[in-house]
């Protein structure tokens, strides 16, 4: 043995430099590793991968030729098929049907010269939504800019009147400037939007809308007035006027008491309440029968009193309110009344809230009853200014779906919150009524409620009232989704720790302050996913209005199209078109809710 070898064996080997890292073996890196770990880990996984790949290949294989041979220019389905065969295909999509009927899908039977109105309304809707969606954020300005540009382009593409396009361009430019410089002011656009939208969509004299806005102002001013007046005497006079108004209302009620439905009374006095057992039975049966009839009598007397009272109210309301059932006006009035009530309440809550609110509402009512009809008539006669009126049955397609969906969504959120608060209230009666309402609405299918709107409302309203079907559907859809939202919000409220309520009490906040400042912001944040999925459900459910004779995009318009002799037998294309639009809107809503959740997340997890 030679020395160096012994040396090498004796001396421990110490490496003086790090070795360069070897690359991992091919099976442990890159695509192969990824595929092995994710796609082929275990035999179950492998089988699943193979099956999925087979499904994907099969779907592409069967659908691709159909998409590839799409026909955009044709007058009928037969023509489409001829073109496809001429191209050498066996089957092809016939998108020509969408090209031929897109206006019905979007606008229903809305008059074609007025197409710019729904387009402008939709553009303004997005502008009005932008401060709500991205509160106090540059994103709202970006959204406004994009929407403004798109609206103008669409108006140009629809070859709308030049003045309309010009005015829209200026308006949108102004809104973009506003959104960029003073994003907080954009909320006023949102508040004014309902009036603008109703005016644009349904047309009519602009004075009606302006007058209702004026009514709101009058109501709020009167509500503010009490307690703000410098002089004590003036305040007294104001209170006296409010009292006289109240007396008038009471007198109207009392006047009608003498005029109650005698019909009803006669019916009840004639009725034979003794059940059969009382007639030829023994003593016990007679006593029982007498008892039963006594109970029925008591109930009927109570009902009679109620009916008397309510007839009085309905008489008072029927004064000259037949115009109330007209769609745009009723909605304008509804929006105005809500705004006025909130405004008056906010203005007058500090001192002597009762008199202030009552005075404001009386002023609002008096204005609407006496000033409004006269003012609108005079102004419309002397300076007619407005848009061509469009009646509700001309609405259809996605215009209808979006009108119903957006209105019902906007109405159902506050209603749902109120119902949730009612359900959690300590007051027995409020709680019972809320629970009853919520459980009833959630227990029946929406379709039965819609049928109630179309068939039964004629029974539940005063005779000869007949109001707009779209309005009825909107009301029922709002009530329906309000019940679901109430349950979602109740879940959010229940999830809040009791400490939050106690902290609000400790700060001496009253009920509404506590709700507004402490409870609701947290409860609503928890319930965002549920609320948005209820909204998505509501928007999808707007397709059900076709069952009460409205022209929704899915069933109404598509059935019209499929009934046309030249498009008979077409089915994939229209349904895919409608489905894709619904998908985009609903998917957008759910993505937005996820964005909102991320944005509002405050916990550190």
């Amino acid at each position: 043995m030679s020395t160096p070898e012994i040396d090498a064996a004796m001396k421990p080997y110490v490496r003086s430099a790090m070795l360069a890292a070897e690359p991992p073996p091919p099976s442990e890196r890159g695509m192969i590793k990824w595929a092995r770990e994710n796609l082929f880990a275990g035999w179950v996984n492998t089988v699943l991968t193979v099956i999925s790949l087979a499904v994907i290949v099969w779907m592409i294989w069967s659908a691709f030729p159909w998409w590839w041979h799409s026909v955009w220019n044709a007058g009928s389905l037969r023509e489409c098929r001829e073109i496809v065969i001429a191209e050498g295909g066996t089957s092809g999509a016939c998108w020509a049907v969408i090209r031929a009927r897109w206006h019905q899908y979007l606008f229903g039977f809305y008059p074609p010269p007025y197409y710019w109105r729904p387009v402008l309304t939709a553009g303004l809707l997005l502008v009005a939504l932008s401060p709500v969606l991205f509160w106090n954020n540059r994103k709202s300005a970006i959204m406004t800019a994009v929407v403004g540009a798109v609206t103008v382009l669409v108006l140009l593409a629809l070859s709308s009147p030049g003045t309309v396009t010009a005015v829209t361009t200026v308006l949108m430019a102004a809104l973009i400037l506003l959104a960029w410089n003073r994003p907080k002011l954009l909320i006023w656009v949102t508040l004014a939007y309902p009036f603008v939208a109703l005016f644009l969509l349904w047309g009519g004299q602009i004075w009606t809308y302006l007058s209702v806005i004026l009514a709101v102002v009058v109501g709020i001013v009167f509500g503010r007035l009490y307690g703000k007046l410098e002089d004590r005497t003036l305040n007294l006079i104001y209170a006296v006027i409010a009292a006289i108004g109240a007396a008038f209302v009471a007198a109207a009620l009392l006047h009608y008491l003498s005029d109650i439905s005698a019909d009803f009374l006669a019916k009840f006095s004639e009725a034979d309440f003794y059940p059969g057992i009382g007639r030829d039975g023994g003593l016990v049966a007679k006593v029982l029968g007498a008892l039963v009839s006594a109970v029925i009598w008591v109930i009927s007397v109570v009902v009679w009193c109620l009916i008397a009272l309510m007839s009085a109210v309905s008489w008072a309301l029927n004064l000259n309110m037949s115009m109330l059932w007209d769609f745009p006006f009723a909605s304008v009035l509804g929006v105005g009344a809500v705004l006025a009530a909130i405004g008056t309440f906010q203005a007058a809550r500090s001192r002597a809230a009762g008199i202030g609110v009552f005075g404001g509402l009386l002023a609002l009512g008096a204005y609407l009853l006496f000033v409004h009809p006269w003012l609108t008539k005079t102004l419309a006669a002397s300076m007619p200014l407005g848009l061509g009126p469009v009646s509700s049955d001309q609405f259809g397609g996605f215009l209808l779906a979006i009108v119903i969906g957006v209105t019902a969504i906007a109405a159902s959120l506050p209603l749902g919150i109120l119902l949730a608060l009612g359900r959690r209230s300590d007051m027995f009666l409020v709680k019972t009524l809320s629970v009853g309402f919520i459980e009833f609405i959630r227990g029946v299918p929406l379709i039965t409620l819609l049928f109630t709107a179309s068939l039964l409302l004629a029974y539940f309203l005063p005779p000869q009232t007949n109001f707009d079907l779209i309005l009825r559907v909107i009301i029922l859809a709002s009530l329906f989704s309000a019940a679901y939202i109430a349950e979602v919000v109740r879940g959010g409220l229940a999830a809040l720790p009791r400490g939050q309520y106690e902290a609000a009490d400790a700060l001496a906040l009253d009920y509404w302050q506590a709700q507004r400042l402490i409870i609701m912001p947290q409860a609503l944040k928890i319930s965002i996913p549920g609320i948005v999925s209820t909204f998505i459900g509501l928007f999808k459910d707007t397709t059900l209005v076709s069952f009460v004779g409205l022209l929704d995009p899915l069933r109404g318009v598509t059935m019209t199209v499929r009934a046309d002799i030249s498009w008979k037998g077409i089915y994939w294309e229209p349904y895919i078109f409608v489905g894709v639009i619904f998908f985009v809107i609903c998917f957008g809503m759910s993505r937005y809710s996820m964005y909102l959740e991320r944005k509002l997340k405050t916990d550190h997890r």
Partner: protein
């Protein structure tokens, strides 16, 4: 707000009227009285309007129409029904049709939902991607579209019954030894010749008995004793099997060794039922064209078997795919809600993955899953009313559709229909409450 003294009692300076509004102790009463008053006024107003309207139309409220001859046909009826039956019976037929779709839909949707929900959690990118696409597409497009689309596709793309017919030419061509010129019907039955899908409906085999045990009438509804006997035997088998398993469990507890039971289980579960069915002469009647002695088909449609209407098929498929997508999300959320520590702890105790799932994950996940799952069942049941889009005669189609139109009694029909739907919903949700109370975490 009035500041109460330490004991929370009313201040001593007497009661003033303004305290009804400004004192929180009395304000609740004021509000409730006002609410009660307004509510009663509203109810009174509605009642008054109804009375006036009824008087004006010369109508009354009466449910006697339920005893009147209906005069219309319902193709799919689970209990005997002809157009001579009463409206009341038509209502029950419709209700049964509603419940049939609802129950089958719930079962199918649960199967689809659990399957998809579990697969969506898979680490396999392709599988979970496919499942995500399915869930998002079905959740974001209206149910009505799926119902109509499925209906249109099955009723417009499927062949006519005559395409299945065997003609004289075909028989002649088969008779010649030359097989090259043989011609066959354009379409064949699928699934081993058991099922034929035509544009009129899906023909499936019907289970029949050669020696049935007879029927008894219960409230004008014939109840088959054979079915009752079969159900009783199945129930008894299940009970016997539970006894067997309990015994095995006891032996395991005592000796630490579990006897082999699987073949005994199988025997106990299936043998009695099979024997009974064999004794009653169970066989399937396959739908087929009546044929003459040469094998040439006659008639216009399949005979024998059960013809399932496309409206039913479309409603069932669309409802279960749609609800399945929602259930998949619920299942996924339920499994994800269980923290990883739970399964890690189970592994640390040495439990195998299957037992971890069964003993640790599922019991906790089910507590999260079941309440929204039942509310999905509720939704599915209510959504069966969309069957009207494909003319499926469920409760909505009979009571709220044809009966309403024939009798003109909107008020009674709608009220009765709402009442029935409400009852179904309340029953389902009270079941949910019972379940919730049973599985609730017992705290403190």
């Amino acid at each position: 707000m009035a500041i109460a003294n330490d004991a929370g009692e009313a201040p001593k300076d007497g009661f003033r009227l303004s305290m009804l509004i400004y004192d929180t102790r009395f304000r609740a009463f004021t509000i409730q009285i006002v609410v009660l008053f307004l509510f009663l006024l509203f109810v009174g107003w509605l009642a008054d309007n109804v009375i006036q309207n009824l008087a004006q139309k010369g109508k009354d409220i009466s449910f006697s129409f339920l005893n009147v001859r209906a005069g219309y046909d319902i193709e799919q009826h689970l209990i005997p029904y002809t157009n001579d039956s009463t409206h009341g019976r038509a209502v029950i037929v419709g209700l049964l049709n509603t419940l049939l779709v609802a129950v089958l839909g719930c079962i199918l949707a649960t199967i689809i939902g659990v399957f998809v929900g579990v697969l969506r959690l898979s680490r396999n990118w392709i599988v979970s991607g496919l499942m995500t696409i399915y869930v998002e597409i079905f959740r974001n497009v209206p149910l009505l579209l799926w119902i109509i689309l499925v209906f249109v596709v099955v009723s417009e793309t499927q062949p006519e019954p005559k395409d299945f017919k065997v003609t004289q030419e075909m028989v002649d061509s088969w008779a010649t030894p030359d097989t090259a010129d043989d011609i066959y019907p354009a379409k064949h039955k699928i699934l081993f010749g058991l099922v034929a899908i035509t544009n009129r409906g899906t023909n499936i085999p019907e289970p029949l008995l050669d020696r049935p045990l007879g029927t008894i009438e219960v409230a004008t509804v014939p109840v088959s004793l054979s079915v009752l006997a079969t159900l009783a035997v199945i129930a008894a088998s299940i009970y016997a099997n539970r006894l067997l398993l309990r015994r095995a469990h006891r032996i395991q507890e005592d000796t630490g060794r579990r006897p082999t039971t699987w073949w005994q289980s199988l025997l106990i579960l299936f043998l009695p039922t099979i024997l009974l069915l064999w004794a009653m002469g169970f066989h399937l009647e396959v739908p087929a064209f009546p044929a003459n002695e040469n094998g040439v088909s006659r008639g216009f449609n399949f005979q024998g078997g059960i013809q399932v209407m496309h409206s039913f098929t479309a409603l069932l498929i669309a409802l279960s795919l749609y609800t399945g997508a929602f259930i998949a999300e619920i299942v996924r959320a339920g499994i994800m809600a269980i923290s990883r520590g739970q399964s890690e702890a189970a592994f640390a105790l040495g439990l195998r993955p299957g037992r971890t799932m069964k003993l640790v994950i599922l019991p906790q996940a089910l507590r999260v899953i079941i309440p929204p799952l039942i509310s999905q069942y509720l939704n599915l049941t209510k959504n069966t009313s969309l069957g009207i889009a494909v003319s499926y005669l469920d409760l909505r189609g009979t009571l709220g559709g044809i009966t309403l139109n024939q009798t003109g009694r909107e008020l009674e029909c709608m009220l009765l229909m709402m009442l029935i739907y409400l009852t179904i919903s309340l029953i389902i949700s009270s079941m949910m409450n019972v379940f919730n109370a049973a599985v609730k975490l017992k705290e403190r």
